[in-house]
Amino acid sequence: MKREEWTDRLVDSFLQEAVAGERPSDQTRQILARAALRERHRVRVWAPLAAAAAVLVLTAGVWTWWPKKGVEPAVYPPPAASGAYTVEGDAQVRRGAVIETHEGEARLLLGGYARITMRPGSTAVIAGRENAEEIFLTGGEVECEVEGRKDRLFSVQTELGTVSVVGTRFTVQLTGEENDMNAKTMVVKVIVGTVMVTSLGASPSVLHAGERGTWGRRRPGLGTERPAIQDAKTPLEKARAACSLQERALKAQRQQIEDEVLQDAEVAAAMKASQAAARAYYTELNDHPDYGDLKQAREAVAAEFQKLTARLRRGRREDWQKNRQEFAKLRTRSAELRGKMLKLADAVPELAGLKKKTQDALIAFLTKYQEKLNANKKYADLGKQLEEMAGWVSEIDDQMTEERRTQREADK
Protein backbone atom coordinates (compact mmCIF):
# COMPACT_ATOMS: atom_id res chain seq x y z
CA MET A 1 0.00 0.00 0.00
CA LYS A 2 1.23 3.47 -0.92
CA ARG A 3 1.43 6.45 1.43
CA GLU A 4 -1.69 8.07 -0.12
CA GLU A 5 -3.63 4.89 0.49
CA TRP A 6 -2.65 4.94 4.16
CA THR A 7 -3.66 8.59 4.58
CA ASP A 8 -7.00 7.70 2.95
CA ARG A 9 -7.37 4.85 5.39
CA LEU A 10 -6.52 7.11 8.32
CA VAL A 11 -9.31 9.53 7.38
CA ASP A 12 -11.64 6.57 6.76
CA SER A 13 -11.05 5.15 10.25
CA PHE A 14 -11.36 8.56 11.93
CA LEU A 15 -14.61 9.20 10.05
CA GLN A 16 -16.05 6.12 11.73
CA GLU A 17 -15.61 8.00 14.98
CA ALA A 18 -16.43 11.54 13.81
CA VAL A 19 -19.55 10.62 11.81
CA ALA A 20 -20.72 7.25 13.13
CA GLY A 21 -19.71 7.85 16.76
CA GLU A 22 -17.65 4.64 17.04
CA ARG A 23 -15.36 5.95 19.73
CA PRO A 24 -12.89 4.32 22.13
CA SER A 25 -14.37 3.34 25.47
CA ASP A 26 -12.59 3.58 28.81
CA GLN A 27 -11.26 0.05 29.42
CA THR A 28 -9.05 0.91 32.39
CA ARG A 29 -11.06 -1.09 34.92
CA GLN A 30 -11.30 -4.22 32.73
CA ILE A 31 -7.58 -4.16 31.92
CA LEU A 32 -6.53 -3.67 35.54
CA ALA A 33 -8.93 -6.40 36.69
CA ARG A 34 -7.54 -8.82 34.08
CA ALA A 35 -3.98 -7.92 35.09
CA ALA A 36 -4.78 -8.61 38.75
CA LEU A 37 -6.37 -11.94 37.80
CA ARG A 38 -3.32 -12.94 35.79
CA GLU A 39 -1.07 -12.09 38.68
CA ARG A 40 -3.12 -14.18 41.09
CA HIS A 41 -3.07 -17.06 38.63
CA ARG A 42 0.68 -16.73 38.26
CA VAL A 43 1.11 -16.93 42.04
CA ARG A 44 -1.16 -20.00 42.25
CA VAL A 45 0.74 -21.84 39.53
CA TRP A 46 4.12 -21.09 41.04
CA ALA A 47 3.20 -21.68 44.69
CA PRO A 48 4.09 -25.43 44.86
CA LEU A 49 7.30 -24.84 42.93
CA ALA A 50 8.19 -21.95 45.19
CA ALA A 51 7.84 -24.20 48.23
CA ALA A 52 10.31 -26.65 46.73
CA ALA A 53 12.62 -23.83 45.73
CA ALA A 54 12.67 -22.54 49.30
CA VAL A 55 14.67 -25.61 50.32
CA LEU A 56 17.21 -24.92 47.61
CA VAL A 57 17.52 -21.30 48.63
CA LEU A 58 18.29 -22.32 52.20
CA THR A 59 21.11 -24.59 51.04
CA ALA A 60 22.46 -22.13 48.53
CA GLY A 61 23.90 -19.90 51.23
CA VAL A 62 24.33 -16.18 51.60
CA TRP A 63 25.24 -15.33 48.04
CA THR A 64 21.56 -15.36 47.16
CA TRP A 65 21.25 -12.31 49.42
CA TRP A 66 23.62 -10.38 47.24
CA PRO A 67 21.84 -7.48 45.48
CA LYS A 68 21.24 -8.36 41.86
CA LYS A 69 21.89 -5.91 39.04
CA GLY A 70 18.78 -6.93 37.11
CA VAL A 71 16.27 -6.30 39.91
CA GLU A 72 14.99 -2.77 39.61
CA PRO A 73 12.88 -0.86 42.11
CA ALA A 74 9.28 -0.02 41.21
CA VAL A 75 9.15 3.29 39.36
CA TYR A 76 6.88 6.08 40.59
CA PRO A 77 4.46 6.69 37.70
CA PRO A 78 4.74 10.09 36.01
CA PRO A 79 1.59 12.21 35.42
CA ALA A 80 -0.64 10.87 32.64
CA ALA A 81 -3.60 12.34 30.77
CA SER A 82 -6.23 11.13 28.35
CA GLY A 83 -9.31 12.54 26.63
CA ALA A 84 -9.82 15.94 25.03
CA TYR A 85 -7.20 18.32 26.37
CA THR A 86 -4.40 20.63 25.28
CA VAL A 87 -1.10 21.32 27.01
CA GLU A 88 0.45 24.75 26.87
CA GLY A 89 4.08 25.01 25.80
CA ASP A 90 5.93 21.85 24.78
CA ALA A 91 2.79 19.67 24.94
CA GLN A 92 4.27 17.32 27.53
CA VAL A 93 2.11 16.18 30.43
CA ARG A 94 4.40 16.68 33.42
CA ARG A 95 4.73 18.71 36.61
CA GLY A 96 4.32 22.39 35.86
CA ALA A 97 2.29 21.72 32.69
CA VAL A 98 -0.87 23.77 32.14
CA ILE A 99 -3.67 21.44 31.04
CA GLU A 100 -6.79 22.87 29.42
CA THR A 101 -10.05 21.28 28.37
CA HIS A 102 -12.36 22.95 25.88
CA GLU A 103 -15.51 21.17 24.73
CA GLY A 104 -14.71 17.70 26.03
CA GLU A 105 -13.55 16.10 29.26
CA ALA A 106 -10.04 14.92 30.16
CA ARG A 107 -8.71 12.47 32.74
CA LEU A 108 -5.51 12.93 34.69
CA LEU A 109 -3.80 10.19 36.64
CA LEU A 110 -1.28 11.42 39.19
CA GLY A 111 1.06 9.12 41.09
CA GLY A 112 -1.12 6.17 40.11
CA TYR A 113 -3.54 6.99 42.95
CA ALA A 114 -5.30 10.29 42.17
CA ARG A 115 -7.75 10.20 39.27
CA ILE A 116 -8.99 13.60 38.16
CA THR A 117 -11.73 14.22 35.63
CA MET A 118 -11.47 17.73 34.23
CA ARG A 119 -14.85 19.00 33.08
CA PRO A 120 -15.11 20.95 29.79
CA GLY A 121 -13.71 24.48 29.96
CA SER A 122 -11.30 23.84 32.84
CA THR A 123 -7.65 24.83 33.33
CA ALA A 124 -5.29 23.21 35.83
CA VAL A 125 -1.55 23.15 36.53
CA ILE A 126 0.05 19.87 37.58
CA ALA A 127 2.05 20.54 40.74
CA GLY A 128 2.98 18.49 43.81
CA ARG A 129 5.58 15.79 44.37
CA GLU A 130 5.73 12.02 44.84
CA ASN A 131 3.01 10.82 47.21
CA ALA A 132 1.80 14.40 47.69
CA GLU A 133 0.24 15.01 44.30
CA GLU A 134 -1.40 18.36 43.72
CA ILE A 135 -3.14 20.35 41.01
CA PHE A 136 -3.80 24.04 40.85
CA LEU A 137 -7.23 24.76 39.42
CA THR A 138 -7.44 28.18 37.79
CA GLY A 139 -10.94 27.74 36.35
CA GLY A 140 -13.67 25.21 35.71
CA GLU A 141 -14.48 22.02 37.58
CA VAL A 142 -12.67 18.81 38.51
CA GLU A 143 -13.93 15.58 40.00
CA CYS A 144 -11.27 13.72 41.97
CA GLU A 145 -11.11 10.13 43.11
CA VAL A 146 -8.24 9.39 45.47
CA GLU A 147 -7.22 5.94 46.64
CA GLY A 148 -6.86 5.96 50.40
CA ARG A 149 -3.45 5.13 51.88
CA LYS A 150 -1.87 6.48 55.04
CA ASP A 151 1.23 8.06 53.57
CA ARG A 152 -0.29 9.65 50.48
CA LEU A 153 -1.93 13.02 50.15
CA PHE A 154 -3.71 14.75 47.31
CA SER A 155 -4.62 18.44 47.14
CA VAL A 156 -6.52 20.72 44.80
CA GLN A 157 -5.38 24.30 45.16
CA THR A 158 -7.34 27.31 43.98
CA GLU A 159 -6.84 30.99 44.63
CA LEU A 160 -9.50 30.74 47.29
CA GLY A 161 -8.13 27.78 49.22
CA THR A 162 -6.78 24.26 49.22
CA VAL A 163 -8.78 21.04 49.40
CA SER A 164 -6.70 18.18 50.83
CA VAL A 165 -7.54 14.51 51.17
CA VAL A 166 -6.03 11.16 52.02
CA GLY A 167 -8.63 9.01 50.27
CA THR A 168 -12.02 10.12 48.99
CA ARG A 169 -14.11 11.31 46.05
CA PHE A 170 -15.03 14.96 45.65
CA THR A 171 -15.51 17.79 43.17
CA VAL A 172 -14.09 21.31 43.14
CA GLN A 173 -15.69 23.96 40.99
CA LEU A 174 -14.26 27.41 40.50
CA THR A 175 -16.77 29.85 39.03
CA GLY A 176 -16.88 33.58 38.37
CA GLU A 177 -14.93 36.16 36.44
CA GLU A 178 -11.69 34.95 34.91
CA ASN A 179 -8.66 36.36 36.73
CA ASP A 180 -10.76 38.30 39.21
CA MET A 181 -10.20 36.63 42.54
CA ASN A 182 -12.74 38.80 44.33
CA ALA A 183 -15.52 37.70 42.02
CA LYS A 184 -14.69 33.99 42.20
CA THR A 185 -16.45 31.25 44.12
CA MET A 186 -15.10 27.82 45.00
CA VAL A 187 -17.65 25.07 45.52
CA VAL A 188 -16.46 21.81 47.09
CA LYS A 189 -18.75 18.79 47.07
CA VAL A 190 -17.73 15.58 48.85
CA ILE A 191 -19.07 12.32 47.44
CA VAL A 192 -17.20 9.80 49.62
CA GLY A 193 -14.94 10.31 52.66
CA THR A 194 -13.67 13.51 54.25
CA VAL A 195 -11.80 16.53 52.92
CA MET A 196 -10.15 19.44 54.62
CA VAL A 197 -10.34 22.92 53.16
CA THR A 198 -7.73 25.49 54.12
CA SER A 199 -8.15 29.04 52.92
CA LEU A 200 -6.32 32.22 53.75
CA GLY A 201 -8.09 34.43 56.23
CA ALA A 202 -10.43 31.70 57.44
CA SER A 203 -9.90 28.76 59.77
CA PRO A 204 -9.61 25.32 58.13
CA SER A 205 -12.87 23.41 57.74
CA VAL A 206 -13.70 19.75 57.39
CA LEU A 207 -16.33 18.58 54.90
CA HIS A 208 -17.90 15.13 55.03
CA ALA A 209 -19.54 12.85 52.47
CA GLY A 210 -22.70 14.36 51.01
CA GLU A 211 -21.74 17.88 52.07
CA ARG A 212 -21.04 20.90 49.97
CA GLY A 213 -19.15 24.04 50.93
CA THR A 214 -18.78 27.40 49.22
CA TRP A 215 -15.83 29.77 49.57
CA GLY A 216 -15.36 33.19 48.04
CA ARG A 217 -18.06 35.78 47.50
CA ARG A 218 -20.45 33.81 49.66
CA ARG A 219 -19.53 32.76 53.16
CA PRO A 220 -18.53 29.13 53.67
CA GLY A 221 -21.58 27.03 54.32
CA LEU A 222 -23.23 23.72 53.67
CA GLY A 223 -25.64 23.21 50.82
CA THR A 224 -29.24 22.55 51.68
CA GLU A 225 -31.56 20.07 50.12
CA ARG A 226 -35.30 20.46 50.72
CA PRO A 227 -37.45 17.42 50.23
CA ALA A 228 -40.78 18.93 49.17
CA ILE A 229 -43.10 16.09 50.13
CA GLN A 230 -46.15 18.38 50.13
CA ASP A 231 -45.41 19.34 46.49
CA ALA A 232 -45.13 15.72 45.34
CA LYS A 233 -47.98 14.71 43.03
CA THR A 234 -47.30 11.26 41.63
CA PRO A 235 -46.56 8.17 43.78
CA LEU A 236 -42.99 8.17 42.46
CA GLU A 237 -42.47 11.80 43.45
CA LYS A 238 -43.85 11.01 46.91
CA ALA A 239 -41.51 8.02 47.27
CA ARG A 240 -38.58 10.21 46.15
CA ALA A 241 -39.45 12.91 48.69
CA ALA A 242 -39.84 10.32 51.46
CA CYS A 243 -36.41 8.91 50.60
CA SER A 244 -34.92 12.41 50.77
CA LEU A 245 -36.43 12.93 54.22
CA GLN A 246 -35.05 9.61 55.44
CA GLU A 247 -31.68 10.40 53.89
CA ARG A 248 -31.54 13.72 55.72
CA ALA A 249 -32.34 12.05 59.03
CA LEU A 250 -29.59 9.44 58.50
CA LYS A 251 -27.10 12.10 57.46
CA ALA A 252 -27.91 14.15 60.56
CA GLN A 253 -27.17 11.10 62.72
CA ARG A 254 -23.93 10.51 60.89
CA GLN A 255 -23.01 14.17 61.23
CA GLN A 256 -23.55 13.91 64.97
CA ILE A 257 -21.11 11.00 65.21
CA GLU A 258 -18.57 12.88 63.09
CA ASP A 259 -18.86 15.92 65.33
CA GLU A 260 -18.37 13.73 68.39
CA VAL A 261 -15.30 12.11 66.87
CA LEU A 262 -13.87 15.56 66.10
CA GLN A 263 -14.17 16.33 69.82
CA ASP A 264 -12.11 13.24 70.70
CA ALA A 265 -8.91 14.38 72.45
CA GLU A 266 -6.52 12.68 70.02
CA VAL A 267 -8.39 13.82 66.89
CA ALA A 268 -8.83 17.36 68.19
CA ALA A 269 -5.10 17.60 68.98
CA ALA A 270 -4.19 16.32 65.49
CA MET A 271 -6.58 18.80 63.88
CA LYS A 272 -5.20 21.68 65.90
CA ALA A 273 -1.64 20.71 64.94
CA SER A 274 -2.65 20.53 61.29
CA GLN A 275 -4.32 23.96 61.40
CA ALA A 276 -1.29 25.50 63.13
CA ALA A 277 1.09 24.00 60.56
CA ALA A 278 -1.05 25.30 57.68
CA ARG A 279 -1.18 28.79 59.17
CA ALA A 280 2.60 28.86 59.69
CA TYR A 281 3.21 27.73 56.11
CA TYR A 282 0.85 30.23 54.48
CA THR A 283 2.15 33.12 56.58
CA GLU A 284 5.76 32.31 55.66
CA LEU A 285 4.84 31.84 52.00
CA ASN A 286 3.04 35.18 51.79
CA ASP A 287 5.93 36.97 53.46
CA HIS A 288 8.52 35.62 51.03
CA PRO A 289 9.73 38.46 48.72
CA ASP A 290 9.83 36.30 45.53
CA TYR A 291 6.31 35.12 46.20
CA GLY A 292 5.23 38.75 46.57
CA ASP A 293 6.80 39.61 43.18
CA LEU A 294 5.05 36.71 41.46
CA LYS A 295 1.78 37.66 43.12
CA GLN A 296 2.18 41.21 41.89
CA ALA A 297 2.93 40.03 38.36
CA ARG A 298 -0.17 37.86 38.49
CA GLU A 299 -2.28 40.75 39.68
CA ALA A 300 -0.97 42.79 36.73
CA VAL A 301 -2.11 40.03 34.36
CA ALA A 302 -5.49 39.99 36.10
CA ALA A 303 -5.80 43.76 35.67
CA GLU A 304 -4.92 43.45 31.98
CA PHE A 305 -7.51 40.73 31.62
CA GLN A 306 -10.19 42.86 33.22
CA LYS A 307 -9.29 45.82 31.02
CA LEU A 308 -9.61 43.65 27.93
CA THR A 309 -12.93 42.24 29.17
CA ALA A 310 -14.31 45.72 29.87
CA ARG A 311 -13.23 46.94 26.44
CA LEU A 312 -14.79 43.97 24.72
CA ARG A 313 -18.03 44.28 26.66
CA ARG A 314 -18.55 47.59 24.97
CA GLY A 315 -17.50 46.19 21.59
CA ARG A 316 -19.07 43.82 19.09
CA ARG A 317 -19.32 40.04 19.09
CA GLU A 318 -16.67 39.72 16.34
CA ASP A 319 -14.16 41.48 18.61
CA TRP A 320 -14.49 38.62 21.07
CA GLN A 321 -13.61 36.17 18.32
CA LYS A 322 -10.60 38.26 17.27
CA ASN A 323 -9.31 38.52 20.81
CA ARG A 324 -9.65 34.85 21.65
CA GLN A 325 -5.91 34.35 21.31
CA GLU A 326 -5.22 37.36 23.53
CA PHE A 327 -7.47 35.85 26.17
CA ALA A 328 -5.80 32.48 25.86
CA LYS A 329 -2.35 34.12 26.24
CA LEU A 330 -3.38 35.96 29.38
CA ARG A 331 -4.92 32.84 30.85
CA THR A 332 -1.79 30.83 30.15
CA ARG A 333 0.45 33.56 31.56
CA SER A 334 -1.66 33.64 34.70
CA ALA A 335 -1.48 29.85 35.08
CA GLU A 336 2.29 29.92 34.41
CA LEU A 337 2.82 32.49 37.15
CA ARG A 338 0.74 30.42 39.51
CA GLY A 339 2.85 27.40 38.54
CA LYS A 340 5.97 29.37 39.45
CA MET A 341 4.40 30.32 42.77
CA LEU A 342 3.79 26.66 43.45
CA LYS A 343 7.32 25.69 42.43
CA LEU A 344 8.75 28.38 44.67
CA ALA A 345 7.26 26.69 47.70
CA ASP A 346 9.20 23.55 46.77
CA ALA A 347 12.43 25.33 45.75
CA VAL A 348 12.98 27.38 48.92
CA PRO A 349 14.13 24.87 51.58
CA GLU A 350 12.40 26.61 54.51
CA LEU A 351 9.12 26.81 52.63
CA ALA A 352 9.43 23.24 51.38
CA GLY A 353 10.04 22.12 54.97
CA LEU A 354 6.96 23.96 56.21
CA LYS A 355 4.88 22.64 53.33
CA LYS A 356 5.93 19.09 54.10
CA LYS A 357 5.14 19.62 57.77
CA THR A 358 1.68 20.90 56.80
CA GLN A 359 1.05 17.90 54.58
CA ASP A 360 2.32 15.44 57.20
CA ALA A 361 0.18 17.06 59.91
CA LEU A 362 -2.83 16.90 57.59
CA ILE A 363 -2.24 13.23 56.81
CA ALA A 364 -1.88 12.51 60.55
CA PHE A 365 -5.13 14.31 61.33
CA LEU A 366 -7.20 12.82 58.49
CA THR A 367 -5.86 9.32 59.17
CA LYS A 368 -6.62 9.55 62.89
CA TYR A 369 -10.08 10.94 62.18
CA GLN A 370 -10.86 8.21 59.66
CA GLU A 371 -9.56 5.49 62.02
CA LYS A 372 -11.88 6.64 64.81
CA LEU A 373 -14.82 6.82 62.42
CA ASN A 374 -14.08 3.36 61.04
CA ALA A 375 -14.03 1.97 64.58
CA ASN A 376 -17.57 3.27 65.20
CA LYS A 377 -20.07 0.49 64.42
CA LYS A 378 -23.09 2.77 64.30
CA TYR A 379 -21.28 5.01 61.79
CA ALA A 380 -20.59 2.01 59.55
CA ASP A 381 -24.27 0.93 59.76
CA LEU A 382 -25.42 4.42 58.87
CA GLY A 383 -23.07 4.36 55.88
CA LYS A 384 -24.59 1.08 54.68
CA GLN A 385 -28.14 2.43 55.12
CA LEU A 386 -27.26 5.57 53.19
CA GLU A 387 -25.74 3.48 50.41
CA GLU A 388 -28.91 1.40 50.22
CA MET A 389 -30.98 4.57 50.21
CA ALA A 390 -28.87 5.98 47.38
CA GLY A 391 -29.61 2.81 45.37
CA TRP A 392 -33.37 3.27 45.86
CA VAL A 393 -33.15 6.96 44.99
CA SER A 394 -31.33 6.23 41.76
CA GLU A 395 -33.89 3.53 40.89
CA ILE A 396 -36.76 5.96 41.53
CA ASP A 397 -34.97 8.63 39.50
CA ASP A 398 -34.59 6.19 36.60
CA GLN A 399 -38.29 5.37 36.76
CA MET A 400 -39.21 9.05 36.90
CA THR A 401 -37.04 9.76 33.86
CA GLU A 402 -38.69 6.87 32.03
CA GLU A 403 -42.14 8.16 33.02
CA ARG A 404 -41.32 11.65 31.75
CA ARG A 405 -39.98 10.22 28.49
CA THR A 406 -43.15 8.18 27.95
CA GLN A 407 -45.23 11.26 28.72
CA ARG A 408 -43.24 13.36 26.23
CA GLU A 409 -43.71 10.73 23.54
CA ALA A 410 -47.44 10.54 24.28
CA ASP A 411 -47.66 14.36 24.05
CA LYS A 412 -45.93 14.29 20.68
Binding site: D8, S25, Q92
Partner: protein, 187 residues
Protein backbone atom coordinates in the same frame (compact mmCIF):
# COMPACT_ATOMS: atom_id res chain seq x y z
CA UNK B 1 22.70 6.93 29.12
CA UNK B 2 23.01 3.26 29.93
CA UNK B 3 26.17 1.15 29.63
CA UNK B 4 25.31 0.23 26.04
CA UNK B 5 24.99 3.90 25.06
CA UNK B 6 21.20 3.75 24.89
CA UNK B 7 18.88 5.74 27.13
CA UNK B 8 18.09 3.73 30.28
CA UNK B 9 14.90 1.68 30.20
CA UNK B 10 12.31 2.00 32.92
CA UNK B 11 11.63 -0.85 35.32
CA UNK B 12 9.03 -3.53 34.60
CA UNK B 13 5.42 -2.46 34.33
CA UNK B 14 3.71 -2.76 37.72
CA UNK B 15 0.07 -1.94 38.58
CA UNK B 16 0.62 1.83 38.96
CA UNK B 17 2.58 2.07 35.71
CA UNK B 18 0.04 -0.09 33.90
CA UNK B 19 -2.80 2.22 34.91
CA UNK B 20 -0.78 5.24 33.81
CA UNK B 21 -0.05 3.61 30.44
CA UNK B 22 -3.72 2.63 29.95
CA UNK B 23 -4.95 6.11 30.86
CA UNK B 24 -2.52 7.81 28.56
CA UNK B 25 -2.50 5.47 25.55
CA UNK B 26 -5.72 3.46 25.29
CA UNK B 27 -7.52 5.92 22.99
CA UNK B 28 -4.42 6.27 20.80
CA UNK B 29 -4.05 2.47 20.48
CA UNK B 30 -7.74 1.97 19.71
CA UNK B 31 -7.60 4.53 16.89
CA UNK B 32 -4.31 3.08 15.66
CA UNK B 33 -5.49 -0.52 15.31
CA UNK B 34 -8.72 0.66 13.71
CA UNK B 35 -6.61 2.59 11.20
CA UNK B 36 -4.68 -0.60 10.48
CA UNK B 37 -7.94 -2.34 9.65
CA UNK B 38 -9.46 -3.73 12.85
CA UNK B 39 -13.17 -3.32 13.51
CA UNK B 40 -14.52 -1.85 16.78
CA UNK B 41 -14.70 -5.16 18.69
CA UNK B 42 -11.29 -6.37 17.54
CA UNK B 43 -9.77 -2.96 18.28
CA UNK B 44 -11.04 -3.08 21.88
CA UNK B 45 -9.72 -6.64 22.32
CA UNK B 46 -6.33 -5.71 20.91
CA UNK B 47 -6.06 -2.67 23.17
CA UNK B 48 -6.64 -4.91 26.19
CA UNK B 49 -4.19 -7.56 24.97
CA UNK B 50 -1.51 -4.96 24.23
CA UNK B 51 -1.55 -3.59 27.75
CA UNK B 52 -1.72 -7.05 29.31
CA UNK B 53 1.32 -8.07 27.24
CA UNK B 54 3.30 -5.27 28.88
CA UNK B 55 2.24 -6.14 32.43
CA UNK B 56 5.15 -7.57 34.47
CA UNK B 57 6.72 -8.95 31.34
CA UNK B 58 8.27 -5.97 29.60
CA UNK B 59 10.18 -2.77 30.28
CA UNK B 60 8.97 0.37 28.53
CA UNK B 61 11.71 2.37 26.79
CA UNK B 62 11.01 5.43 28.95
CA UNK B 63 8.23 6.52 31.23
CA UNK B 64 8.65 10.22 30.61
CA UNK B 65 8.97 10.26 26.80
CA UNK B 66 5.36 10.04 25.58
CA UNK B 67 6.06 9.59 21.82
CA UNK B 68 8.60 6.80 22.47
CA UNK B 69 6.26 5.11 24.90
CA UNK B 70 3.46 5.32 22.32
CA UNK B 71 5.69 3.89 19.56
CA UNK B 72 6.63 0.96 21.82
CA UNK B 73 2.96 0.16 22.55
CA UNK B 74 1.98 0.53 18.89
CA UNK B 75 4.74 -1.96 18.02
CA UNK B 76 3.22 -4.51 20.41
CA UNK B 77 -0.28 -3.83 19.02
CA UNK B 78 0.98 -4.27 15.43
CA UNK B 79 2.57 -7.58 16.34
CA UNK B 80 -0.66 -8.81 17.98
CA UNK B 81 -2.70 -7.70 14.98
CA UNK B 82 -0.40 -9.57 12.57
CA UNK B 83 -0.70 -12.70 14.72
CA UNK B 84 -4.48 -12.34 14.72
CA UNK B 85 -4.55 -12.03 10.92
CA UNK B 86 -2.29 -15.06 10.54
CA UNK B 87 -4.82 -17.12 12.48
CA UNK B 88 -7.73 -15.84 10.37
CA UNK B 89 -8.37 -18.69 7.95
CA UNK B 90 -11.62 -17.42 6.46
CA UNK B 91 -10.59 -13.85 5.68
CA UNK B 92 -6.83 -13.81 5.37
CA UNK B 93 -5.48 -10.27 5.21
CA UNK B 94 -2.59 -9.74 2.86
CA UNK B 95 -0.85 -6.95 4.80
CA UNK B 96 2.66 -7.83 5.88
CA UNK B 97 5.03 -6.28 8.39
CA UNK B 98 6.58 -4.01 5.73
CA UNK B 99 3.19 -2.52 4.83
CA UNK B 100 2.50 -2.01 8.51
CA UNK B 101 5.78 -0.14 8.91
CA UNK B 102 4.68 2.28 6.17
CA UNK B 103 1.39 2.68 8.04
CA UNK B 104 3.36 3.48 11.19
CA UNK B 105 5.31 6.15 9.30
CA UNK B 106 2.09 7.90 8.21
CA UNK B 107 0.82 7.73 11.80
CA UNK B 108 3.98 9.23 13.34
CA UNK B 109 4.06 11.95 10.67
CA UNK B 110 0.45 12.82 11.51
CA UNK B 111 0.89 12.69 15.29
CA UNK B 112 4.55 13.58 15.89
CA UNK B 113 4.00 14.56 19.52
CA UNK B 114 2.40 11.23 20.45
CA UNK B 115 -1.14 12.70 20.44
CA UNK B 116 -4.04 10.30 20.87
CA UNK B 117 -5.99 11.70 17.91
CA UNK B 118 -8.92 13.23 19.75
CA UNK B 119 -8.18 16.71 18.42
CA UNK B 120 -7.93 15.23 14.94
CA UNK B 121 -11.42 13.75 15.34
CA UNK B 122 -12.76 17.13 16.53
CA UNK B 123 -11.17 18.92 13.58
CA UNK B 124 -12.53 16.28 11.22
CA UNK B 125 -16.04 16.77 12.60
CA UNK B 126 -15.82 20.51 11.93
CA UNK B 127 -14.47 19.88 8.43
CA UNK B 128 -17.34 17.50 7.66
CA UNK B 129 -19.80 20.25 8.64
CA UNK B 130 -18.20 22.54 6.08
CA UNK B 131 -18.51 20.04 3.21
CA UNK B 132 -21.14 20.54 0.47
CA UNK B 133 -24.55 18.99 1.08
CA UNK B 134 -24.07 16.08 -1.33
CA UNK B 135 -20.69 15.12 0.17
CA UNK B 136 -22.17 15.16 3.65
CA UNK B 137 -25.02 12.97 2.46
CA UNK B 138 -22.58 10.48 0.98
CA UNK B 139 -20.58 10.41 4.21
CA UNK B 140 -23.78 9.82 6.15
CA UNK B 141 -24.76 6.89 3.87
CA UNK B 142 -21.31 5.34 4.11
CA UNK B 143 -20.46 5.85 7.79
CA UNK B 144 -23.69 6.41 9.76
CA UNK B 145 -26.02 4.16 7.80
CA UNK B 146 -23.26 1.74 6.76
CA UNK B 147 -24.66 1.33 3.24
CA UNK B 148 -22.78 -0.84 0.81
CA UNK B 149 -21.21 0.58 -2.32
CA UNK B 150 -23.95 -0.91 -4.50
CA UNK B 151 -26.71 0.58 -2.31
CA UNK B 152 -25.01 3.96 -2.51
CA UNK B 153 -24.61 3.63 -6.26
CA UNK B 154 -28.37 3.10 -6.57
CA UNK B 155 -29.23 5.99 -4.23
CA UNK B 156 -26.90 8.50 -5.90
CA UNK B 157 -27.41 7.28 -9.49
CA UNK B 158 -23.73 6.49 -9.90
CA UNK B 159 -21.64 3.47 -10.75
CA UNK B 160 -20.00 1.56 -7.88
CA UNK B 161 -16.63 2.71 -9.12
CA UNK B 162 -17.94 6.28 -9.16
CA UNK B 163 -19.00 5.98 -5.52
CA UNK B 164 -15.56 4.67 -4.58
CA UNK B 165 -13.79 7.53 -6.36
CA UNK B 166 -16.18 10.15 -4.96
CA UNK B 167 -15.60 8.94 -1.39
CA UNK B 168 -11.85 8.95 -1.94
CA UNK B 169 -12.01 12.53 -3.22
CA UNK B 170 -14.10 13.59 -0.20
CA UNK B 171 -11.62 11.97 2.17
CA UNK B 172 -8.68 13.65 0.42
CA UNK B 173 -10.39 17.04 0.84
CA UNK B 174 -11.10 16.27 4.48
CA UNK B 175 -7.46 15.33 5.03
CA UNK B 176 -6.35 18.72 3.66
CA UNK B 177 -8.99 20.55 5.67
CA UNK B 178 -7.95 18.82 8.93
CA UNK B 179 -4.24 19.51 8.30
CA UNK B 180 -5.00 23.19 7.69
CA UNK B 181 -7.26 23.44 10.72
CA UNK B 182 -4.77 21.78 13.06
CA UNK B 183 -1.97 24.00 11.75
CA UNK B 184 -4.14 27.06 12.44
CA UNK B 185 -5.02 25.90 15.95
CA UNK B 186 -1.36 25.14 16.63
CA UNK B 187 -0.38 28.65 15.57
Amino acid sequence: MGEDGRPPRAARVDHGTLEMLVTEHQAELYRYVKYLGADHALAEDLVQETFLATFKGASPPSLTDVPRRGAWLRGIARHLLLRHWEREVRNPVTLDSRALERAEQVWTDTFPGGEDGVLYVEALRLCVEQMPERSREMLDFRYSQRKSRSEMAAAFSMSEHGVKSALQRIRARLWECVQARLKLEGA
